[in-house]
Symmetry: C2
Subunit: 219 residues, 2 copies
DNA sequence: CCGGTCTGTCACCAATCGGTGAGTAACAGT
DNA sequence: ACTGTTACTCACCGATTGGTGACAGACCGG
């Protein structure tokens, strides 16, 4: 507990410490949103709550209720960015390659997705959240994400015709499921099903196996 | 709030309601453990705590501290059963088939694992827990599980020689990762990467795709 | 200058959390 | 029948949670 003199000393020593929050609603809104995203990315959804976000944003939780209508609205705001995730985090070009076959395409997409997910802690937390809880908020996040992913897949496929006689939707779901679980498991415990995934060499092996898997089905 | 008369009426009407806990330590220990497992299976790890377990077991939380040394010990006790999960939930026989090749084996194991995981809510929650948190307790659970899984794989492989030139460890990790994420995602939201997984027909398609994936790498 | 709106802060609420110390009731050994 | 141990319950602790109402100060239009 600080008394008045102690506070005075603090203010003296720390050079205009007050850091008085200026009256700027949109700036505060942004501060709250980024605080929420960073908090979610770093701490996970376990301790993701009104109090924690407000603490991190350095403002009162009341403002979260006012500006976002509570946690639900805030989560929805996070989800709104998800639509842009693919285009923000995954390069659209083919890396100078010519993708002639569906197999070429899927191999490339799988590797791109693997790296993108590996580099994005927020997205990892969201995916983990999706498989752990079944609340309305999470369902919304999940929907936005899978929709964006599907659109990306369609867009990248372009005019490439998928192979006949193969349920590409199901196969691709399995491929992307494997990537997601691999990355999540690695991020959480450094391994997946006994396969250690820590240094670059480990990931190299995983990528090779992934390529082999994709090439196995799609040639 | 109930007064004495209300309690008396309750006891009268509900036929020896008191359900007086008999003094049987091992029975209480079992009650706590099963309460914990059921709670975890039904509610997930989010609200899994001392109070909730005690409430469900119908005893005082103090007993959990005494008999299990707290939540950690209780979780450890849950993990102790995990070693037997494979043998309890997955049939050992080959279903009358002859598994001649490594591909035959892996296809069979993948399908068995898929069904077993689909039928076990507790195991699903644990897997989801593993990818969501990184505490010491969860790490223990994860370790026990992956160890049991690895032993099962080895045991089922028997004298079958894995194919040369393929990093089976990495490939199998990906295959099992895909199964786990597929099942978790389906259990949580009824779909995975846009692929709806609700009725038996949906799962049939997933199983076919899984077979195709396995056969693609292992022939 | 005055009144109202907007932005932000604070104090407080009931509920729940994990955790502990003390007490009670049933049993066993002598 | 007395004693000590075992099994169990209860009351309480501080901390934290989500949530709300009241208030203070900056700003803006009149």
């Amino acid at each position: 507990m600080l008394n008045e003199t102690a506070v005075a000393v603090l203010e003296q020593t720390s050079a205009a410490e007050p850091e008085k929050r200026i009256r700027d609603r949109s700036a505060t809104e942004r501060a709250i949103l980024t605080a929420a995203k960073n908090l979610l990315a770093e701490e996970g959804f376990q301790n993701f709550g009104i109090n924690a976000v407000a603490r991190r944003a350095g403002c009162d939780k009341q403002l979260i209720y006012r500006y976002y209508g509570g946690l639900d609205g805030l989560i929805e705001a996070i989800g709104a960015d998800l639509g842009n995730w693919v285009k923000d985090r995954i390069p659209e070009d083919t890396g100078g390659m010519f993708l002639l076959t569906y197999g070429d395409l899927m191999e490339r997409l799988a590797l791109l997705f693997l790296e993108a997910l590996r580099d994005d802690p927020l997205m990892r937390r969201i995916v983990a959240w999706e498989v752990s809880e079944n609340t309305e908020q999470v369902r919304r996040l999940s929907e936005a994400r899978s929709k964006a992913l599907g659109q990306w897949l369609d867009r990248m496929r372009g005019s490439l015709t998928p192979p006949k006689g193969i349920d590409t939707a199901a196969v691709n779901a399995l491929i992307f499921a494997s990537i997601q679980h691999l990355v999540l498991s690695a991020a959480a415990g450094g391994q997946c099903a006994g396969l250690v995934l820590k240094n670059a060499k480990d990931w190299e092996k995983a990528a090779t196996a992934l390529k082999r898997l994709v090439r196995g089905v799609y040639g």
